[in-house]
């Protein structure tokens, strides 16, 4: 019985991980409130480097493999291996610098809150009340 309960709990946790949404967040001074999927992809692949007011975009990611892989799958349609391959190519051809990467979501949230033009992501449950949060949620259009 104990095993069954543990199994069900594990399945619940797995389902959460598999289906949890990753939301895009940004510094409160970022002019955009919505972005298309294509624009999100361009931002994190360093093809789009400026916001609508021409200020610089500073993309951020989390090293935590779980949320990072979910973000890549949901928003970039890329596997983690392809993401690494892409950035190796960009870096060694001098065409770009990968997004700044943090060990934890908390560190990334702090960076986005403090850095003008910063953009990143969190699991949808992380920000309960946007009006009180130090960052804003970017809606997908």
């Amino acid at each position: 019985m104990k095993r069954l309960i543990v199994g069900l709990l594990a399945m619940t946790a797995f389902s959460y991980a598999a289906y949890a949404d990753v939301v895009i967040i940004a510094n409160r001074n970022v002019p955009e409130n919505t972005l298309s999927r294509k624009e999100i992809k361009e931002i994190f692949l360093a093809k789009r480097v400026r916001w609508g007011d021409h200020s610089r975009i500073h993309a951020a990611t989390v090293r935590d493999a779980g949320i990072h892989k979910m973000f890549l799958k949901q928003h970039l349609n890329k596997s983690h291996a392809k993401w690494k391959l892409y950035w190796k190519r960009m870096v060694f051809t001098g065409r770009g610098v990968p997004p700044i990467s943090f060990d934890t979501e908390a560190e990334m949230l702090a960076y986005i809150a403090e850095t003008e033009g910063a953009v990143g992501y969190v699991l949808s449950g992380e920000i309960q009340d946007e009006s009180e949060a130090s960052v804003k949620i970017i809606r997908i259009r």
Partner: protein, 382 residues
Amino acid sequence: MKKTVILLFTLCVTLLPNAHAFDADQIQIRGFISQGYLVSSDHDFWYTPTEDGTFQFNETKIHVMAEPLDNLRLGIQLLSRDMGEVGNNEVAVDWAYGDYSFRNWLGIRAGLLKRPFGLYDQSRHVDAARTEIFLPTGVYPDIARELFFSTRGVGIYGILPGNLSYELQYGVAPLDTDGGAVKMADGMLGSKTENIENDYVIAFMLRWDTPLSGLMFSFSGFSMGDIVQEADIGKINTSTFELYISSLEYEFENFTFSSEYRHESVETSLNGNMSLMDQILEAYHITGSYRFTDWFELGLGYSERYTDQDDKDGDRFKKIGQPAAKAWCKDLTMITRFDINDYWIFKLEGHYMNGLEGVTSELGDDPSEDWFLFAAKMTFSF
């Protein structure tokens, strides 16, 4: 050069515990060391003694990049490379430029630039950035990289409405007498080149990311002004050197498929009155790969290359008593890549070859048209 490699290796090992490069917002120092082994059943390939087996197949790169202003990025990458008779681990500048971005649709670069050419040429000597050890040999021959690889000049780039992105460059190709292009020409003509220069190169790339996520097309190429070689036999002038590549890539999660077609026009004369070459080279490849796990990727590729699209059977070679198979190279490739961890990669690759284009050793009376090339490579990057 050994000292340089040892120094770079020591630097890598020292940096390993902290190997994400330096502060991401300030100065970045990154690099890699690749060491490979090549062996073939017959023939030497691309001026490398593959028939006996060789470790003369390595690349080392290190770069420094800084962003002193929000709009400005500066960087330089040094390259040391050996591929048989080419490179010989001389340290050279791989790229060095300033990159100023005005808008999403307009950035400008100036310096020694990577030339946009096909889907993969810019990462030709970055082993960690691709699945294969050799890029598809038909479309990306490694024998005369200096003709294709870099432009010393200026360029603009950006993204455009309609999912388009572009890049344009204008400058000269940094040619030198130790390069594979000169080696190839001197090998064919029995000459010795003392100096080589070119007037200009105009390069472009237009890329369309289609509405189907992961599917893209691109069209890229370049045209070079006169390439003049001053040799002991006279002045060798390549008045036409134009190259175009149409590319398609589809990437879905762990699966990647790509195909490219290359069209290259060359016209070369000696002393302005004797035609040495006037032909169109043609090549294509089809390559697919699948990443089964975080650490293992398997790929399969096929490419064909013809030195003259009007003489795919090699009649021109037969007429002068040489093997017809010098007119083509067909390459069926099995690729494996093992990502041991974030820093170490190991690759194994087998090429079943048909044809003698690209073979650089002496051909006997009855050279084998079918032969096998095996490649192994280990890369450490940080």
